[in-house]
């Protein structure tokens, strides 16, 4: 009797029955027709803000050039029938209205039929990743079958024109919490460095390592597959990242002056060298429902697993990934050690180091081809750029997490399985 009772009991208590370890192997084995899969993930080269190759390009032109190349990668049955892509979400931070008008125009110029709808999305530095989540959710809910997530930013064109932080009304400034949303990002990082005791040396060596990893990746042609060439109006073809410098060392970085706390007595540690660069770039991720991708014979390079975003105190917004990643892992019942690669955006060395250390992540798993300190951080583009990168870093059946901190105090993280 007790065994029959136990048998029935087991049918009713599925929760916690599968441990994280077993869940991992099952996750890799299971292919369901409703899975959201990645068909393609590419990016442009990331160029230097104000002086790089894209400095004079408006985002709509940049997007148009990227989309032309991106569409070229599609299998012909999709290329010749772009209306199969039902919706496009484009992450962008700095354009007026997040570029809702000019980027819709760029999709039309690139050959998308007007039936393919467009929306722009802005969750600060996570906009590119949030765009992917937006498209994935639409596929999960059954609203669409194939969608395109984009991220684009020209910091050259838009960073200085407008106050990137925006303004807050006088009435709100009396609220101590509301006011914190205006703290410059660099100062939030100084708070992390100070509170969690991450000294200048650690930050500089982390930054130097990022440059070395990125330079080596470029030298070995590891980005070749993910970068699509952009043709500038004067006919130049740009297909190489401009940010990484291979001669950067911890020593050479130690000479730089603090960029945010200028008073020498206050010992600022955040410098131009150990912060993310101001950059321009664009990236795109084509997502589809597995049943549709298979019926159209589209390539499947990976599977979208989950996305989570969580708020953190605005004054230490850089800790975002340290909260978003555990939340994400608990949702998908995985352990931090199950993850093979982490792409954690290097907004600043101190915050990225803090997150990797507090989560006990093996340093070799973090940004193996360098991060934003070397490659640059075109705000709205970054999340999608990281996905294009991680899809090449992961090997079959490996799981990767893309994460970043978000200005005004948030962290976002998404998990992907390489197929």
């Amino acid at each position: 009797m007790s065994q029959r009772l136990q048998n029935i009991k087991n049918h009713l208590t599925q929760d916690n029955k599968i441990s994280s370890n077993e869940n991992l192997s099952l996750l890799k084995k299971t292919k369901n027709p409703d899975d959201v899969v990645i068909v393609l993930a590419n990016r442009s080269a990331i160029t230097k803000g104000f002086k790089g190759s894209f400095k004079d390009l408006n985002t709509d032109y940049l997007l148009l050039q990227f989309l032309k190349e991106f569409i070229n990668q599609f299998p012909s049955n999709l290329k010749n029938n772009l209306s199969l892509i039902e919706d496009i979400t484009c992450g962008n931070v700095l354009n007026v209205g997040s570029g809702a008008t000019e980027h819709r125009a760029a999709t039309l110029a690139a050959g998308f039929p007007y039936e393919t709808s467009f929306n722009s999305i802005n969750r600060q530095c996570s906009s590119g990743l949030t765009a992917i989540n937006d498209i994935a959710n639409k596929i999960i809910s059954g609203q669409i079958d194939i969608g395109l997530a984009l991220g684009i930013e020209s910091m050259s064109k838009n960073y200085k024109n407008i106050n990137p932080l925006g303004t807050i009304s006088e009435n709100l400034l009396t609220d101590s919490n509301a006011k914190k949303c205006l703290i410059p990002m660099g100062l939030t990082n100084e708070l992390i460095a100070k509170n969690f005791k991450i000294d200048r040396l650690k930050q500089d060596s982390f930054a130097a390592l990022s440059n070395q990893k990125a330079s080596l990746a470029i030298k070995n042609g590891l980005f070749k597959d993910e970068i699509l060439p952009i043709t500038t109006p004067d006919g130049k073809i740009i297909d190489t990242d401009e940010g990484p410098r291979d001669n950067v060392t911890t020593d050479s970085l130690s000479n730089l002056k603090p960029a945010f706390i200028k008073d020498p007595k206050k010992n600022g540690t955040t410098t131009a060298g150990n912060s993310s660069q101001i950059s321009d770039g664009v990236a795109g991720v084509l997502l589809a429902r597995r049943s549709i991708a298979e019926s159209l014979n589209l390539p499947i390079i990976g599977k979208y697993l989950a996305f989570q975003v969580i708020g953190v105190p605005p004054e230490i917004m850089g800790v975002g990934p340290a909260y978003a990643i555990p939340k994400l892992l608990s949702k998908i019942n995985l352990d931090i050690n199950d993850i093979d690669i982490f792409e954690i955006n290097e907004a600043f060395a101190a915050q990225c180091l803090y997150c990797a250390n507090i989560l006990n992540i093996d340093t070799e798993k973090v940004n193996p081809r360098g991060g934003a300190i070397a490659l640059g951080h075109p705000l709205g583009c970054t999340g999608a750029r990281q996905v294009a990168t991680i899809m090449r870093e992961l090997e079959e059946d490996q799981i990767g997490i893309v994460s970043m901190c978000i200005g005004t105090g948030m962290g976002a993280a998404a998990a992907f399985l390489k197929e």
Binding site: N7, H11, Q14, T30, P33, S295
Partner: protein, 371 residues
């Protein structure tokens, strides 16, 4: 809706007679089938449309399933908790006309071959599937689905119900073969599903060795409680399990497309449709409609039965749609009159299509219109 209450017994399985348009058989057990007698009810639908008892048989252990003999209008076999199968003649009283005793543990399902009609099959908690002829006391064949790469958690020791040795030795449900059925298209094909989350397809034209079977993980490591062959599409099956999902599979093992970086292909059956969260608790039974190729009936521990439209097929060709893309997940009817776990469901073969019989732990059997 038309009901019948089985005083003191909980329903496990209900089957319409393939010969009489007014007869139903119900396998049931006392004390929710956990301990005590079983009872086989033969119910008639009378001229007023009411259910009434025609005959019944008390057995010494719970009955988990029943199947009508496809060659004899008065015979049916039952799957009993003591490891035996019993053949009853509904015109007789009290005793079975044959007993088939080989299984070492509870027999969880039985099914008559619809094509050959002279064999039936049983599956048991002892991890075996047996093929029988009603004319022979011993089984014709024993099939053992590969234990396969048994997923680790199944071996994990659970919290015992008591400190008695007999109670702490729980091997859980790994060996439970919850259902085994013959294909309605080919007398040689047998489908089974088990507590290790695997579905196994046997072809009887091959020797019954460990390698001559196709297994695949069907419900993400959680127990697969039920499976059924589609009556119109020979290569399509449905399954349900403890993950609350219903999945529809194409057994043709179509190669799946892989990324351009990898040339490997997989040839396991392809999941062509799924209804995630089809029920709020485990799906206990799925049965394809005898009248329409895209209608599926399910029963669950959540006390409801549902009729689903399989949206991955439009009656002629695959649509590549899944039910989760539909706002109501393709659910046509949800039947909520039962007040306990629903274990038994069957489509009526008779009259206007769409009538369904169901039976549950609440001791009730209902006949209702599914669509």
């Amino acid at each position: 809706m038309n009901g019948y209450h089985m005083e003191g017994f909980s329903g496990y399985s209900v089957k319409y007679s393939p010969f009489y348009d007014n007869k139903l058989a119900i396998a049931s057990g006392a004390n929710f089938g956990l301990v005590g007698n079983g009872k086989l009810y033969i119910l008639d639908i009378n001229n007023q449309g009411k259910l009434e008892e025609y005959n019944s048989f008390i057995t010494q252990d719970c009955l988990f399933d029943t199947a009508w003999n496809e060659l004899h209008e008065n015979q049916l076999v039952v799957a009993q908790g003591d490891g035996s199968l019993r053949l009853f003649d509904i015109t007789q009283k009290d005793y079975p006309i044959a007993v088939f005793k080989e299984h070492e543990r509870e027999v969880l399902s039985c099914n008559w071959n619809l094509v050959n009609k002279n064999t039936f099959i049983s599956s048991s908690w002892d991890g075996t599937v047996k093929i029988w002829s009603p004319l022979r006391p011993n089984s014709l064949s024993t099939l053992i689905p590969n234990p396969m790469k048994v997923i680790e958690y199944i071996d994990r020791v659970d919290i015992p119900l008591s400190h008695q040795n007999a109670h702490s030795d729980m091997t859980q449900n790994r060996n439970c073969i919850y259902q085994s059925i013959f294909s309605p298209h080919d007398p040689n094909l047998i489908l089974t599903c088990a507590g290790n989350s695997y579905i196994t397809l046997f072809d009887m034209r091959q020797a019954a060795t460990a390698n001559n079977q196709q297994n695949f993980l069907s419900h993400g490591g959680l127990e697969t409680l039920t499976c059924d062959f589609n009556k119109y599409r020979p290569n399509i099956i449905a399954s349900g399990g403890v993950d609350n999902a219903i999945r529809i599979w194409d057994l043709r093992m179509i190669e799946t497309t892989r990324g351009n970086l990898s040339a490997t292909t997989t040839t396991r059956p392809k999941c062509v449709n799924e209804v995630s969260k089809a029920h709020e608790l485990a799906v206990r039974k799925v049965v394809w409609s005898p009248h329409e190729s895209t209608l599926l009936l399910s029963a669950s521990y959540d006390m409801t039965c549902s009729v689903w439209r399989d949206l991955s097929f439009n009656g002629k060709v695959p649509t590549n749609r899944t039910n989760n893309t539909h706002i109501g997940k393709g659910c046509i009817t949800r039947f909520g009159a039962h007040t306990e776990f629903v274990f038994g469901i069957d489509w009526s073969l008779w009259g206007k299509p769409g009538y369904i019989a169901s039976t549950a732990w609440d001791g009730n059997a209902y006949i209702w219109k599914g669509y």
